[in-house]
């Protein structure tokens, strides 16, 4: 057993993380930037950071992931990275010809005190940014928050640095995507279209990280929110932020800059959260919910009722990012399951507050986020109170194997399966897919482990 060393007894640890349930900010910023059309993410730090992020995103999406790096050397770390970044901006525009460069910092450039705002301003003043091209930035120190924070910071940067108020309101609603898959973003666009609401979705990685095979390697695939769309978000009638950790900060920034009122809802995972999303969007746009969507909802509820006997009382351990974990936990409760162990490496009090509310019916539930909320702790909890299902990213497979627990891959990163970039987990149909996967995990186990005389043909 790979994790044979994990003891059952939980003792307080002082500043040591074992098997993290998070990673660092810059990868989130890189992912967010890939959701802008014609944008090349740029990592202002050592070469390794950029390489690791690209590799991880490539392993998750099985797609080429393009990003540039300042390639810090010892000199840059002593004298500051301004020269590197200025040179990089010039190189990138002349060789890779993006419309936008989205620069994010790293622990290295943050610690030496590089000021991205000042350096990008200098690049502009020095004429290094060609007409009609843009350099945006986000500060993403790796020693603060997590990958989710980095995503939120870059999305905020996008909103702040592109939005303009022309004084003329547009009949459109901004939907600020929390960290979700290209498939989920596609689903948001589909639902909005069905509702008849004109939206600007940002960022939008659909058609970027799920691009078709064409015989060509394209640096800038056809997807991504366009500059024109991003400029217009300041004139939108309102914003809907999907996720209080990864999306809301951008909505706040946009409200501050361009007075666009916003509402934050959970990422539409599961029945209740999707209901709230559909209600909020239809209300904001002043439209009726069409029969199509109502029917989709009906089908989800139909399966929930048909299958309710299989979900009752099943104990679940889950880990991942707050904006997904919050509505997912709620969905599990709606299915009459018992989420009892929950960790998220991403710090912040919002998570704790929301989990307290959602889990009030399960007083014995353990949940923790931030420091030491890692998979080692989750595993220890599971040893003390075993579960019927584990939900989380690929790294959960060690625990699942050691404890012989059915395992549903969900979240980021998923390095050993495909599907997440193509099939949504959000909306009514995405929730139905989640439900199906959970149910199949139970049924597969039953068929695999049932005694011969108890092995049944029918469910």
């Amino acid at each position: 057993m790979l994790l044979r060393h994990t003891p059952k007894e939980v003792i307080a640890r002082e500043g040591l993380t074992i098997n993290p349930a998070k990673t660092c900010q810059p990868i989130g910023a890189m992912y967010a930037a890939l959701g802008i059309h014609g944008c090349l993410p740029h990592s202002h730090g050592s070469q390794g950071c950029c390489s690791y992020h690209r590799s991880t995103l490539t392993r998750h999406y099985k797609e080429p992931v393009m990003a540039a790096t300042s390639s810090f050397t010892e000199g840059a770390s002593v004298f500051g990275g301004q020269a590197n970044l200025l040179a990089a901006i010039e190189t990138i525009f002349s060789v890779y010809e993006p419309d936008i460069i989205a620069v994010h910092s790293t622990c290295l450039s943050e610690t030496i005190g590089d000021d991205l705002q000042q350096i990008t301003k200098k690049a502009k003043d020095d004429g290094k940014i060609p007409e009609g091209k843009y350099v945006i930035y986000a500060s993403t120190p790796s020693f603060v928050g997590s990958h989710v924070t980095g995503y939120a910071n870059m999305v905020t940067g996008i909103a702040e640095q592109f939005a303009q108020s022309t004084g003329e309101k547009k009949e459109q609603i901004n939907i600020i995507a929390g960290w979700m898959e290209p498939s989920d973003m596609r689903e948001i666009k589909k639902l909005s279209k069905e509702l008849g609401v004109k939206i600007v979705l940002f960022p939008d990685t659909s058609d970027v990280l799920d691009a078709p095979q064409t015989g060509k390697h394209v640096f800038y695939p056809k997807g991504g929110t366009t500059v024109e769309e991003l400029k217009s978000i300041g004139d939108s009638s309102s914003s809907l932020a999907l996720g209080c950790i990864s999306a809301e900060p951008a909505a706040i920034a946009l409200d501050k800059k361009c007075k666009v009122p916003f509402e934050t809802v959970d990422m539409p995972i599961g029945l209740s959260a999707t209901d709230r999303f559909i209600m909020s969007l239809s209300k904001a746009a002043g439209v009726e919910v069409p029969d199509e969507i109502t029917a989709e909802r009906g089908r989800l509820i139909d399966v929930m009722t048909d299958m309710e006997q299989y979900f009752y009382g099943k104990k679940v351990a889950l880990f991942g990012d707050p904006d997904q974990i919050i509505p997912l936990t709620e969905f599990l409760l709606d299915l009459n399951m018992k989420p009892i162990h929950i960790v998220s490496g991403t710090p912040g009090q919002r998570f704790e507050k929301r989990m307290k509310e959602i889990l009030r019916r399960i007083p014995e539930a353990n949940f923790k986020n931030g420091l030491n909320a890692d998979m080692f702790l989750l595993h220890q909890w599971m040893k003390n109170e075993p579960v019927d299902l584990l939900i989380g990213n690929t790294y959960g497979k060690y625990i699942a194997r050691d404890e012989n627990v059915p395992f549903l891959r969900f979240g980021f990163p998923i390095l050993d399966r495909i599907g997440h970039s193509y099939f949504p987990n959000i909306g009514y149909s995405g929730s139905l897919r989640l439900l199906e996967k959970i149910l199949n995990a139970f049924m597969d186990r039953q068929d695999r482990e049932a005694l011969e005389e108890k092995f049944e043909l029918v469910m």
């Binding site: 790979l2 994790l3 003891p7 002082e14 500043g15 040591l16 993380t17 074992i18 098997n19 993290p20 990673t23 660092c24 090349l40 740029h42 730090g45 050592s46 070469q47 390794g48 390489s51 690791y52 590799s55 991880t56 490539t58 099985k62 797609e63 080429p64 992931v65 540039a68 790096t69 300042s70 390639s71 810090f72 050397t73 010892e74 770390s77 590197n84 040179a87 901006i89 010039e90 190189t91 990138i92 002349s94 060789v95 890779y96 790293t106 622990c107 290295l108 610690t111 120190p141 790796s142 020693f143 997590s146 691009a211 095979q213 015989g215 060509k216 390697h217 490496g345 420091l371 790294y395």
Partner: protein, 479 residues
């Protein structure tokens, strides 16, 4: 000359470069200016001098496929399975290197867990030494490792934590070797990381008893046991009657490293990563070393013969080596002919980490009838590229520290049917509609040894001849 412009056909820069004998591909190639020197095309008809520039840091702003110092140290030391590997820094460096290399262990698997001091803002301001100390004590107490490697990341180099002092203190208190690895990411390239790893290993070498070690003994260096490759190689040498004292670092054990100085020869593969250690051991313990490669029939056989030659006073060793080779080749040859029949005339592009591997791959591909139209590495040196030039056919492009634009461009232009590379290159090959073979960390089947050559040929065949290509637009959408 204005900095960083596209080098287009007919431009003065291009003319100049052509004059200098550097073959730059035409049209709108995305070769970064300042990079032309790192690309070379072998031309026909004239005596030429290879003037490739390499071993330099990547240009700021390039989409390089390279990594950092930390990455180099981490991949080299990672397979030491009964050691504790603690990454001192913010969480990312530990998260991205958590069990990413299929370096298989036959026993302990402590190396597959991820340990980090997970530094936060306050630690960056006030220093992380205390956290490091407490983490180490906790971990050593919990896991009882044989030794501990402490990796220093970028930020440690800036905030000035004295990790040497902490390691010393913990070592004293716990009684196990606690070794700092100075792998701050920005302090060079991956190669410097290899050096830092070797420096740490060198501190372990020589601390164990060498009693009872045979005079006919070797250390296998630079073999990381991906998909169990070190086991295959070890078996060959053992069959020859040679004692393998340690493998570094594949399926590595601390105690084996400690007594490595008892071996009489170091056999070094992946010369980029482990030559430093071999040289240091030669200097300190007088152990000679030789460079070998286990890829392809030719190089695999040579690596057995070369070792046998070293022990020339024992002709039985050479006899055994000959027997292994003839037996294996007899098995393998007819199988390879089957692949060769189908693959003959197909073209391959190679872009891997070290140049030494490229040499073997060129030979291995030739043995199944394939030619190489692009050969490149992330970290080759001048001698490597000179040797590459000698080996390559006319028209072959040679690149150092390439990027996706260049790779796709050359692959298309040279009409390659296969790309050999690592994780970041795989999806590019597929998007272009050509076959792919991972000859890097993510290979799942052994590619080393004689059996490895069979696996390699099979994998190449499988991918190049896949029926999927009849549906997929190929080679720039032309086919």
């Amino acid at each position: 000359m204005q900095n960083s412009r596209l080098c287009r056909e007919g431009s003065p820069e291009l003319e100049l470069l052509i004059e200098k004998g550097v073959g730059i591909m035409k049209e709108e190639i995305g070769i970064l200016e300042g990079r032309q020197g790192q690309v070379f095309e072998k031309k026909s008809g004239k005596a030429e001098q290879l003037d490739i520039s390499c071993e330099k840091t990547s240009l700021s702003g390039s989409v390089s496929q390279r990594a950092c110092v930390f990455c180099g140290s981490r991949v080299v030391l990672y397979p030491v399975a009964d050691a504790l590997h603690l990454v001192h820094g913010p969480i990312g460096c530990a998260a991205y290197t958590w069990d990413i290399r299929g370096a298989v262990s036959s026993g302990p698997e402590l190396h597959r867990l991820s340990f980090s001091t997970d530094l936060g803002e306050m630690d960056v301001i006030y220093g992380g030494e205390k956290k490091l100390y407490l983490s180490l004590i906790e971990l050593i107490d919990k896991y009882k490792p044989k030794a501990a490697f402490i990796y220093s990341t970028c930020i440690i180099g800036l905030i000035g934590d004295d990790i040497d002092a902490v390691c010393k203190k913990v070592s004293k208190e716990t009684g196990i070797p606690v070794l700092p690895v100075h792998s701050e990411g920005f302090k060079g390239t991956k190669k410097d990381g290899y050096k830092a790893a070797c420096t740490s290993l060198m501190k372990l070498v020589g601390t164990g008893s060498i009693e009872g070690i045979s005079p006919y003994s070797i250390n296998i260096l630079g073999e990381f046991n991906l998909a169990g490759e070190a086991w295959i190689i070890r078996e060959y040498y053992e069959k020859m009657g040679i004692e393998v004292v340690s493998t570094m670092t594949g399926d590595g054990r601390v105690d084996a490293v400690r007594r490595a100085h008892g071996a009489t020869l170091n056999v070094v593969q992946c010369s980029g990563s482990m030559t430093t250690l071999a040289k240091d051991m030669e200097e300190k313990y007088g152990i000679p070393y030789m460079r070998v490669s286990y890829f392809g029939i030719e190089d695999m056989s040579k690596s057995l013969y070369d070792v046998a030659k070293h022990f020339s006073d024992r002709p039985d060793i050479m006899d055994a080596a000959k027997e292994i080779v003839s037996k294996e080749v007899a098995k393998l040859y007819p199988e390879l002919q089957k692949f060769k029949k189908v693959l003959a005339g197909k073209k391959a592009a190679i872009y891997v980490g070290g140049a030494f591997k490229t040499f073997s791959l060129i030979k291995a591909l030739r043995s199944i009838g394939m030619s190489v139209v692009l050969a490149g590495s992330q970290t080759g040196n001048k001698d490597d590229y000179e040797r590459l030039r000698e080996m390559c056919d006319e028209g072959t492009i040679i690149v150092d520290d390439s990027n996706p634009v260049e790779l796709s461009k050359f692959v298309l232009e040279k009409e390659a049917d296969l790309l050999i590379g690592g994780v970041k290159e795989r999806p590019i090959a597929y998007k272009l509609g050509i076959g792919f073979c991972d000859h890097n960390h993510e290979r799942k089947i052994p590619l080393a040894g004689f059996i490895g050559m069979y696996n390699f040929a099979k994998e190449v065949y499988q991918s190049v001849m896949s029926p999927v290509w009849q549906f997929a637009p190929r080679k720039g959408g032309k086919i």
